[in-house]
């Protein structure tokens, strides 16, 4: 009895969270930046817990993967259909990115020496586990100017597309395309 009631209550909680997140995302997709920020913030917390539970052996890579998955969800946000459960969509992306990460990692470890037991022990006690090891800001520097400058001005400094166009001499549509392609290219750098 008690267990069943507890189960129903947790189902209701998940359902309420799903509705709340979905509302934020849909508002974000129609251009509400504040709602979109709140969506990504809440999503990152769920992702961190989800990935930490599944990547217990590599805790210091969890934050890298949280960032990679956030970037993927942002780049693929046009594939979300409002009639679809949001949890299924987010879960499928997180799972895909995690499997991709594990495959890459298995490939790397096959080439390099595997971690010794001592290293694993140290890694597990690392206080800085929430710092990403791979720095996206450094990867951003590697983008060509036509993508890097639009991202720098529009996404980091918060200038409008028109202001960025004036500043860089690019057309407004080139600025928009630069942001879009630059974030895709960033996701591709991360995968390598």
């Amino acid at each position: 009895m008690g267990a069943a009631r507890e189960y129903m209550r947790s189902r209701e909680r998940v359902g309420a969270q799903e509705d709340h997140l979905k509302d934020l995302l849909l508002r974000g997709l129609s251009g509400d930046g504040v709602a979109y920020h709140a969506f990504l913030k809440a999503l990152s917390a769920f992702l961190r817990a989800f990935l930490r539970g599944r990547l217990a052996r590599v805790p210091d890579e969890v934050e890298d993967l949280v960032q990679e998955t956030l970037l993927a969800i942002h780049n693929q946000r046009h594939t979300y259909d409002a009639s679809q459960p949001l949890t299924a969509w987010m879960h499928a992306i997180a799972r895909y990115k995690m499997i991709d990460f594990l495959r890459r990692r298995a490939g790397r470890e096959a080439m390099n020496d595997p971690l010794s037991d001592d290293d694993e022990l140290l890694a597990a006690s690392d206080e800085e586990a929430r710092e990403a090891r791979r720095d996206l800001a450094t990867l951003l520097e590697r983008l060509p100017d036509r993508q890097r400058l639009p991202i720098l001005h529009v996404k980091i400094q918060g200038l409008s597309v028109a202001e960025t166009a004036k500043l860089t001499g690019l057309s407004e549509s080139a600025v928009k395309i630069g942001v879009h392609r630059g974030l895709k290219a960033l996701a591709a750098f991360v995968r390598k």
Partner: protein, 213 residues
């Protein structure tokens, strides 16, 4: 870059997302791909001269129905596989239906035929070129649907590639019906299927490489 900085960056000036991206990409891919395939067929192979008369024969429409039904199933599968978290459901279970139908027709035709005619019904005049031509005519749609899929987010890459390849193969076979003079069910049930299978297998093999994101 800390995660909060990344979140701030992604949310800053995030442009509104246009609805209907999937539909637009597939309509464009299939429309342009089919147009190129028809052009390719007309230029390289030529439209069959007796096409108007052939369209009055039921067998012509049976021949068209096989790739057309597979095309419908492949589209249903591809658009589901293009979105994360959408189950493909019973779509693959529909695939054997048109195949079984053409094989039952083939068996009936072979049983009814004179034993000396059976090999001729199976091989026709073009058994070797048929699968190769279908594979060739599938190439424009193949390029189109892989472009469409690359702009979306498949998570089962080999399966998504296979359905994209089948979509291209069945579109190619559909266009090939405008050229091909063969009208025997055993021929269609063998060489058309083989021709459509070539891009489907190619898609399954290329999917993990081309569709990764």
């Amino acid at each position: 870059m800390k995660t909060d900085a990344l979140i701030a960056m992604l949310a800053t000036n995030a442009a509104p997302v246009e609805a209907g991206v999937l539909l637009r990409r597939y309509v464009l891919a299939l429309g342009a791909g089919l147009a190129f395939a028809v052009l390719l067929m007309a230029v390289v192979l030529g439209v069959r001269p007796d096409l108007p008369e052939a369209t009055r024969l039921p067998m012509f429409w049976v021949k068209v129905a096989l790739p057309l039904s597979l095309l419908a199933i492949a589209i249903a599968g591809a658009v589901r596989l293009a979105r994360p978290g959408v189950a493909i459901g019973r779509v693959p279970a529909a695939l054997p239906v048109p195949v079984a139908a053409i094989w039952i027709l083939s068996a009936a035709a072979l049983v009814a035929a004179d034993p000396g005619q059976r090999i001729a019904m199976l091989l026709g005049d073009s058994w070797l070129m048929c699968p190769l031509n279908i594979a060739m005519l599938s190439m424009p749609v193949f390029a189109g649907v892989f472009w469409a899929m690359r702009g979306l987010a498949p998570t089962r890459l080999a399966l998504a590639g296979a359905f994209s390849g089948l979509l291209a193969g069945s579109a190619g076979a559909l266009v090939y019906c405008l050229h091909c003079p063969e009208m025997a069910a055993p021929f269609i049930g063998t060489w058309y299927l083989l021709g459509m299978a070539i891009p489907a297998v190619a898609g399954a093999l290329l999917g993990p490489r081309l569709l990764r994101w």
